[in-house]
């Protein structure tokens, strides 16, 4: 599936406003800029706050670190973790590595993609879930494993996967109502 075509029809909030991202980026740069090898901590912090690294912020980061924008972009694109586009409310990662394969991980991946209607690196049309692959969560004694945001789940069956996704929707509704 074409990523852009998919995003067009989605309810994902488009980019943040300039005021939103700028204050986060400026504050982050001020607090971390002096660390030796500061770039990864900076990118982690910005993505942690905003969900992604806004492309508009790259020049600011470059200036602060005395590097070129191309260098910053090169680092962002090298690591699987960093992204320059918005994400869903929840990040769902499915382990693709060998131990999980041996316990039905491939079937679980196929099920997840089909039931969410997205491929890896895509977000569901309601903006709830971004699906990502991961290569080992260190939970291999109880494979197959997935992670939802910061919580890992072990021995996940397709049925449990669906139940977990239902749980996410209910939780998000609670947050909206509350």
């Amino acid at each position: 599936m074409n990523k852009n075509a998919y995003l067009e029809g989605s309810a994902i909030p488009s980019s943040l406003t300039e005021a939103q991202w700028q204050s986060a980026v400026v504050a982050t740069l001020a607090s971390l800029n002096d660390k030796p090898g500061a770039l990864l901590p900076i990118l982690h912090e910005i993505q942690g706050q905003l969900g992604y690294v806004p492309p508009e912020s790259i020049e600011l980061i470059a200036k602060a670190l005395n590097q070129s924008s191309a260098e910053i972009y090169g680092v962002i694109s090298f690591y699987h973790q960093f992204r320059t586009t918005p994400v869903g409310a929840h990040q769902v990662e499915i382990c693709r590595a060998e131990s999980c394969q041996s316990m039905g991980g491939r079937a679980l991946e196929a099920h997840a993609k089909a039931s969410l209607g997205v491929d890896y690196h895509q977000t569901t049309s309601d903006g709830e879930v971004t699906l990502e692959p991961v290569y080992c969560l260190g939970n291999c004694a109880c494979s197959p494993s997935i992670r939802i945001d910061d919580q890992t789940y072990a021995r996940v069956t397709p049925e449990q996967f669906d139940a977990l996704m239902e749980g996410l929707k209910i939780r998000s509704l609670e947050v909206q109502n509350g």
Binding site: F78, Y79, E98, S99, G138, N139, C140, Q151, T152
Partner: protein, 517 residues
């Protein structure tokens, strides 16, 4: 008062440890029972997680796995009264054969208490090694590590003492620093020993790094931790700040006038950043591209300075050596593989978990005596040892002794000790394809054979699987693998052929014409 232990380890939580803890606490509140709930680390018996332990006069009684579906009032009653007739009761934890039959050095404390309890750490020999080290010269510390025979646990098994000697001997120029870097990237599938060590016994690693710093005269250390380990991140940061408050890190360690500061840095999901030079690039804030060696990191490492890069378990072995003496460590083991290795049983295995043993037992005894066969109950067919770059071993090779040299003789590797089991449902051509695909996804891109060769590898295997010119394509695959072995700068491209060719060699029927399997 009943003292009850519920692990806070990532796998225990993934199996429902938080729910178990909540359930026990609620039940206690309602019945008015006096319960002290300790969130310990895991013992590494992951097949029993959540393993809830209750302290009695006879010792700690274990119940497991206390998963959500089994949590009822009968179980809670049995737990709080340590009633051994309950079907989930495992009896005395120390007597469970899986644990009892291990030789635990690095993991001796794992799961015994709250991992952040510094009092517990010190009551079990913690920081004796550092105190000894502070009274010794740097050279004397390095000599102890050399005599212990300790070899790096990150995979390459390089003698640790020699690496330290190199860093020790480089005269740091005026105003320049040496660094201690802990490689906590643990990217191999089937491995979780570093994670367990960090989550269950963080001070052991911190002490090991501090001793390393005293040995070579470093003042700054970094733990490069993969971002997939948020629990370890939280625990390490908390442990570091507690150690700082106790003067065990910082500007005046134990009033010795010596300084060492430690910081955790997160990776960003790139397998290649486990390779030591790519790791250093990443720590410097760059793309994780592998550097050509020489210069060795020991001479020109982080920010161009002399740097020790060691695996978590290498550094975690050091406090024992400085406390008990080099000979006590060297006593255990097999041939040139001294001490213990933390084997990690994973994949399709009934009793997955961490098994720390002296080198030397056969793979088969590990699989049978500890693992208990497959999880699915079907016959075992293939075992991948040593992570995604390790060979797949067929049954005829499971008698191989677990030590570096014996594995090398079989064109296999022990690596970080990860053991991933597959039952007879596995399609080995699919596994071979995945190895190439993994290399495509994770290559740093510096060498053509690795970057492009892996993509071609996927295509060739696809043609073999589609039964197109099979014989010619198998030959092509072999040549491609040779090129990758010969033309790659690091083990990513240089070892991806190991799993691929082992699959072709040992499981040829899976690469045969459609329908003939």
């Amino acid at each position: 008062m009943v003292k009850c232990f519920v692990p806070q380890d990532m796998t225990a939580k993934a199996m429902g440890a938080d729910q178990a803890a909540g359930f026990i606490q609620n039940a206690a509140n309602q019945s008015g029972a006096q319960v002290e709930l300790v969130r310990n680390g895991s013992r590494g018996l992951f097949w029993l997680e959540p393993l809830v332990e209750v302290e009695t006069e006879a010792g700690r009684i274990g119940f497991g796995p206390v998963t959500f579906d089994k949590l009822d009032t009968t179980l809670i009653d049995a737990l709080l009264s340590a009633d051994q007739s309950h079907p989930l009761c495992e009896g005395l934890v120390e007597e469970i054969p899986y644990l009892k039959n291990q030789q635990r050095f690095s993991f001796v404390r794992a799961g015994l208490d709250d991992p952040l309890s510094l009092a517990f750490y010190q009551s079990t020999g913690g920081y004796v090694g550092l105190r000894n080290a502070l009274a010794m010269s740097g050279q004397a510390i390095v000599d102890q590590v050399k005599e212990s025979g300790l070899r790096g646990r990150g995979g390459a098994a390089f003698p640790t003492g020699i690496k330290w000697q190199t860093v020790h001997d480089v005269a740091a120029d005026e105003g320049e620093t040496k660094y201690i870097v802990c490689n906590a990237d643990e990217g191999d599938s089937g491995t979780f020993a570093d994670r367990l060590a960090m989550e269950a016994d963080p001070y052991q690693l911190i002490e090991g790094m501090t001793i390393a710093a005293m040995a070579v005269g470093a003042e700054q250390g970094y733990i490069y931790l993969r971002s997939e380990y948020p629990e370890a991140h939280r625990i390490l940061n908390a442990a570091i700040s507690i150690a700082e408050q106790a003067n065990l890190l910082g500007d005046n360690i134990l009033d010795s006038g010596r300084r060492f500061n430690l910081e955790v840095r997160l990776g960003a999901k790139a397998y290649i950043c486990g390779e030591e030079t790519a790791l250093l690039e990443s720590l410097e804030g760059k793309r994780g591209m592998v550097r050509a060696k020489p210069p060795l990191p020991a001479i020109k490492g982080l920010f161009g300075q002399p740097t020790i890069v060691n695996n978590v378990l290498t550094l975690a072995a050091v406090p024992f050596i400085l406390r008990e003496g080099a000979a006590a460590y060297a006593e255990v083991g097999f041939g040139r593989s001294r001490g213990t290795l933390a084997f990690q049983l994973a994949g399709n295995i009934k009793r997955g978990g961490l098994v720390e043993l002296g080198f030397g037992p056969s793979l088969k005894s590990l699989l049978d005596d500890f693992g208990g066969g497959t999880y699915t109950g079907r016959p075992m067919r293939a075992v991948q040892v040593g992570g995604p770059l390790g060979a797949y071993l067929p049954e005829s090779q499971w008698d191989t002794p677990l030590d570096y040299e014996s594995f090398a003789a079989k064109q296999a590797v022990l690596g970080h000790g990860g053991v991933v089991v597959f039952d007879d449902h596995v399609d080995m051509s699919e596994q071979a394809r995945f190895s190439m695909e993994f290399c495509v996804a994770e290559s740093c891109g510096k060498c053509t054979p690795c970057r492009i060769g892996s993509t071609r590898g996927v295509e060739v295997i696809d043609r073999i699987r589609a039964n197109e010119n099979r014989a010619a394509n198998l030959e092509l695959l072999e040549e491609l693998c040779e090129t990758m072995v010969d033309g790659s700068l690091c083990a990513m491209g240089g070892m991806t052929p190991f799993p691929v060719m082992s699959a072709v060699r040992h499981f040829p029927e899976d690469f045969a014409a459609e329908g003939s399997k």
